[in-house]
């Protein structure tokens, strides 16, 4: 039979396929009705879901609480914006955003991984604050106004060229990107290396006695999360046409954390569902009352108090039980055939 961790990953896949299908249907229907607003909103939700997913890699699997993940999102966004203003090339901008967040992730990781637990959380918070303040005060980066006037880019995919200016096309590109990120991270987590990451969260003190470094996997997880956040950050200016220092502020990191906790940490897919729910909730409830924060806060507290796996935790166990039954039945058949 499969390990529980494998069953858990497969249950995530089921939930991801549901999400992907729903998103695809939504995209096609929205564009048929000629909607632009909701498609752009959904694209933004997907971009933010990448940031949330990067937090979940750290919090849900490695056991590290990052309170400054928006730092890398912002680095990616600014680098992408700067590149696009010079050369309007999708791949160059995205590559530069990933590269810059890789470098930032290594530097940040070397600093933050000196400490553990709550000190780690606070150091990530501090680093993001510093960089945000530096950008906020730097004229050449647009200071508090940010950078505007980012051109609409073409997205050459080899077989077809799409445009970031077309809401449906860009939505599909981002959906594809999130799918790749989700699949890549699931693959990493299913490997022996991923198991060590999970072990770090479960009981870090025991890990070195099994022969593994604790620093290296923590560092790799941190850099991976930084690159993911930076890469989706690189998509942001293509959607919005501008970047601003707010992207790095604590409220941005905090919002992404809310997405992870409400959606369900330690599931990858929970972060994506959480991002979509939070963005949808804010725009729906936000249209008739300003006070959505109280509901978000209560849901957040409820998740911390009662639902360790967030909203995903309400359905995931059912899916897992089903998968176990299917797996057991298959094993029986196999044994029946080859006695």
């Amino acid at each position: 039979m499969l390990d529980r961790l494998d069953i858990s990953l497969r249950a995530n896949h089921v939930l991801f396929v549901i999400l992907f299908t729903a998103a695809f249907v939504f995209g096609v229907m929205a564009s048929m009705t000629g909607d632009r607003f909701y498609l752009r909103l959904a694209t933004e939700a997907l971009i933010l879901s990448g940031l949330a997913l990067s937090i979940d890699i750290l919090l849900g699997f490695t056991g590290l609480l990052s309170l400054g993940q928006a730092l890398f999102f912002g680095v990616g966004a600014y680098v992408s914006a700067l590149v696009l203003r010079e050369v309007p090339s999708f791949w160059l901008a995205l590559g530069a955003a990933s590269g810059a967040s890789l470098v930032a992730g290594v530097v940040g990781g070397l600093i933050a991984n000196r400490v553990r637990g709550v000190y780690f959380a606070l150091i990530t918070f501090g680093m993001a604050q510093i960089v945000a303040k530096i950008i906020y005060n730097t004229r050449s980066l647009g200071a508090s106004d940010g950078l505007i006037g980012i051109p609409v880019v073409e997205i050459p995919l080899g077989f077809v060229t799409l445009s970031a200016g077309n809401p449906l096309e860009f939505f599909l590109v981002v959906l594809g990107g999130i799918t790749l990120i989700y699949a890549g991270m699931s693959y990493v987590l299913s490997s022996p290396f991923g198991r060590v990451m999970i072990a770090l969260k479960a009981n870090e003190k025991r890990v070195p006695y099994l022969g593994y470094s604790t620093w290296a996997p923590r560092m790799v997880a941190y850099v991976l999360a930084a690159v993911i956040a930076g890469t989706v950050g690189g998509l942001y200016p293509m959607l919005r046409g501008f970047v601003s220092p707010e992207l790095m502020f604590f409220s941005a990191s905090g919002d992404a954390l809310i997405m992870v906790i409400i959606g369900g940490s330690g599931t990858l897919v929970g972060a994506i569902w959480g991002a979509i729910l939070l963005v949808a909730f804010k725009s729906v409830v936000g249209s008739w009352t300003e006070h959505h924060l109280i509901i978000v806060g209560l849901m957040f507290m409820a998740a911390v108090l009662f639902m360790k796996r967030g909203l995903i935790g309400l359905v995931k166990p059912m899916i897992e039980r089903r998968l176990v039954r299917i797996e057991a039945a298959r094993e029986m058949r196999k044994e029946g055939k080859a006695p």
């Binding site: 039979m1 390990d3 529980r4 961790l5 494998d6 693959y187 299913s190 490997s191 022996p192 290396f193 198991r195 060590v196 999970i198 072990a199 479960a202 009981n203 003190k205 025991r206 070195p208 006695y209 099994l210 022969g211 593994y212 470094s213 604790t214």
Partner: protein, 246 residues
């Protein structure tokens, strides 16, 4: 022949307390060496010094004649040393199989780290073997948190064996076990000593006498005495330490 494990003048103090004070002893290959001593004698601290959990203030640790003083736990594990813990120290939110898999996956070549955890290969075979040997077949997919205390203690030992170590350090493996489980574990440890060097901490004197090839007695951080089980038992200094004041 060089001993599998040797310490020379190993010492550490916590504040003013000399928890381990100039302890020298050696463990012969494929024999069972047992460390005994009253509560607080410094046995666990000695294990921590040897296994890299603590850095000795002075003294050396040798594995196979090689100086490994100051190595961390991961490096020592790589040199063939595995240890269990007095206070059960497992991955409670993972299953039995996943725990063993984590311990065994160092057996596979490094390249495997880049492919999904498989059902084949040396590590997977080892896990299957250990599940069989320790009677976990029915509970392989149970969370460790849901196991009984005795089962958790047995898993502690199985975890150590998963990486096929040359030296096995067991800190009170039978602590809190039922009588039946204790005997079972004793049989297991004896059977192990044909393949590995065992360093044991044990409080059950009957077990110590029947299992050990060599006994090291600690008292207040110092080595009080050592020798064959019968010798040690008749040593008046040992009797004074154990029975003189509780």
């Amino acid at each position: 022949m060089t001993p599998a494990l040797e310490t020379r003048g190993l010492s550490i103090a916590f504040g003013g307390l000399k928890a381990v004070d100039a302890v020298s002893f050696s463990a012969t290959r494929n024999k069972i060496t047992t460390v005994i001593g009253p509560n607080g004698a410094g046995k666990t601290t000695l294990f921590n010094l040897i296994s890299g959990g603590l850095r000795p203030a002075s003294g050396t640790v040798m594995l196979d004649g090689r100086n490994v003083t100051g190595f961390g736990p991961a490096a020592l594990q790589g040199s063939g040393l595995a240890r269990s813990f007095q206070i059960t120290n497992l991955f409670f939110e993972l299953t039995v199989r996943e725990n063993l898999g984590l311990a065994a996956q160092t057996l596979d070549p490094v390249i495997n780290a880049f492919f999904p955890v498989g059902r084949r290969g040396r590590a997977a075979d080892k896990v299957d073997e250990l599940i069989e040997r320790f009677g976990f077949a029915a509970k392989a997919h149970e969370l460790v948190a849901a196991l009984s205390h005795g089962e958790q203690r047995r898993l502690e030992i199985a975890m150590c064996l998963a990486s096929e170590p040359q030296i096995l350090m067991l800190d009170e493996p039978t602590q809190g076990m039922s009588h039946g489980d204790t005997e079972e574990t004793a049989r297991l440890i004896r059977s192990l000593s044909t393949e590995v060097t065992v360093l044991l901490i044990e409080h059950d004197i009957g077990l110590v006498m029947s299992l050990s090839d060599h006994v090291v007695v600690m008292h207040q951080g110092r080595k009080l005495s050592e020798g064959a089980p019968a010798e040690v038992r008749s040593d008046p200094a040992v009797q004074a330490a154990y029975f003189g004041h509780g």
